[in-house]
Symmetry: C2
Subunit: 363 residues, 2 copies
Amino acid sequence: MENNTSKKSVIEKRKEVLTQLENLGKQFYEQIERGTFPWIQMPSRSIENIYYSPELRQYILGNKTVRRSARNIRHIRPFTQLVWAAYFAHELAKNRKTSTLRDVYYSAQAYEMSFKDQPESNNVITDLETVINASREDFNIFPEERSAVFGDLTIEYTVPGYEGKRVNLTSHPDGVMIGPALTSSELIETSADKVIAIEKGGLFTRFIEEQVHKRFNAILILTAGQAPRATRHFIHRLNKEFKLPVYIFTDGDPWGMHIAMVIISGSANAAHLRELTTPDAKWSGVWATDIVNYKLPTDPLTDMDIKRLQELQRDPRYKERLWHREILTFMKIRKKAEQEAFSRYGLTYIVDEYLPAKLEETK
Amino acid sequence: MENNTSKKSVIEKRKEVLTQLENLGKQFYEQIERGTFPWIQMPSRSIENIYYSPELRQYILGNKTVRRSARNIRHIRPFTQLVWAAYFAHELAKNRKTSTLRDVYYSAQAYEMSFKDQPESNNVITDLETVINASREDFNIFPEERSAVFGDLTIEYTVPGYEGKRVNLTSHPDGVMIGPALTSSELIETSADKVIAIEKGGLFTRFIEEQVHKRFNAILILTAGQAPRATRHFIHRLNKEFKLPVYIFTDGDPWGMHIAMVIISGSANAAHLRELTTPDAKWSGVWATDIVNYKLPTDPLTDMDIKRLQELQRDPRYKERLWHREILTFMKIRKKAEQEAFSRYGLTYIVDEYLPAKLEETK
């Protein structure tokens, strides 16, 4: 399948972000020229302004806004930090260098910008996302964690030294890393008709070995635990640009459930962003009911597991039928199971029997 | 540089391991035919049989052996488990399927082999390594964790579906995963004259972006924290097959130090293996003395950090001059620093200034 959607190309998106950052700077200049203290208004990210939207199927920000002005002595510090962050992001994007949140924190010292700790600088970067309505990856600040992908997908790089170069993601049978270069690539063409995301490295390798990509026409993604933001964005793009359905396989425990949920509907602290979620993605297993139906080897739920289930129960996203039922089943059986537990029926059972059954069940 | 060393090819090595496993089985059959209870003798891995060898610069096993016999009621269980593990490893290697320690634990249930928990099955796999004098990766049991590599190295795959296919490891600018396929590849050719191993993903990406692979003729390896065994083995091979010197860059704290030490001289629980160490590899930074000399931003050492330093001080491998001095300096300054701390001098300072200085200093 070729990518013919009316998607914004990666290069256009990058130009747009640069323009937005420049406009932000111009705005401050104009305010100063008019003789007013520079100020900015942006959506509030405080907890009372975060709502779950059943239409968008993710958390969103409400209508409350906050205003920060250089006139207010208490605002000068965060306002200055924001202006510096915008400058730094513009430098990164313009020079096509990437960075991490941690790097931003230390880099500030090169400019004699003071952040008392990394949470403070992280927070300012999130403010900047809110202000220019783009995710930090768009202005080249990437997560440090890396995950991987394997499957028939041809991409075209846009990073320096690789511009226009195409590669097919079956080129290396251990999978290739999802980092800044992949994230900023154009997605050109795929023969796959689905995406399968997998929590664990061992199973990702098993799926490649058992040719799941060919037998089930799938692009395989290793989330390596909780999926990093760049990986969630990549899944979002595969779903949106190629209309590929997404199936998520995790361990059968509250933590695995939530890995799936975050890929599907994001997290409350990214309520200002729309490109990190895939609301139509499916959590295909390992369900609590699978543990029962497949008679899997189990471990007892720990106190922490049970506490986590109780938290999830209060989350509006877990009210939906499937999730609600699975939480109740976990509570009832008081047991959990890992993906590898299927090996009790032989190494390939999970691919030969479980996978096709669950793909059908969650279609 | 072409790989002209008299190295054992990966394919020969695999055949050898298969033969060893088969010979083990024959040995048991012969014992039974002779009318004796089958038994086996192997080096003891108990703590009093582990020594540090200054010649080999790693931990080794001494001369004590243990004997396990089916005649002894207390031995029947571990002996049977070992025989099963050898059978299972042979199946894996013969069918060219890979597995993980966790998978082995669950797979045992398919054969009604009972292990009380995963540590018990892990232990039997280590016994098998000792018996056939090969590492578990040689019989296709791989770590679940994955790390990555980037640089001018051409490899030739031996995994099914990719046999004879060659790829250059600059093909994907985020790096490719070090998994079973890479680990079992023949290393064909490289123009690099050194290997640089890096603890963290953000810095790995920075090094690629700043063209460290070209500017310093290096193969770059991301260890992603403590290097997985497959990664340590890969570094060992690059050092041995191409005679490439290896430089390791970690955070400046006791944990970073030990990441380097494990790449260099392995760990006590792999005292029965020789292919996971690279004794000539160098820990190039971040040293405690670098923290002082480069006036890096720091965090105070925690109680856990200090406890760890005291443990390392008692380790024979840390008696050597450099390590000893750095431990004392950490103790004195009571501070630690991350690799990203160099960003206080600008994003590229670490590559432009620090890296060449340290490569020279630790040559």
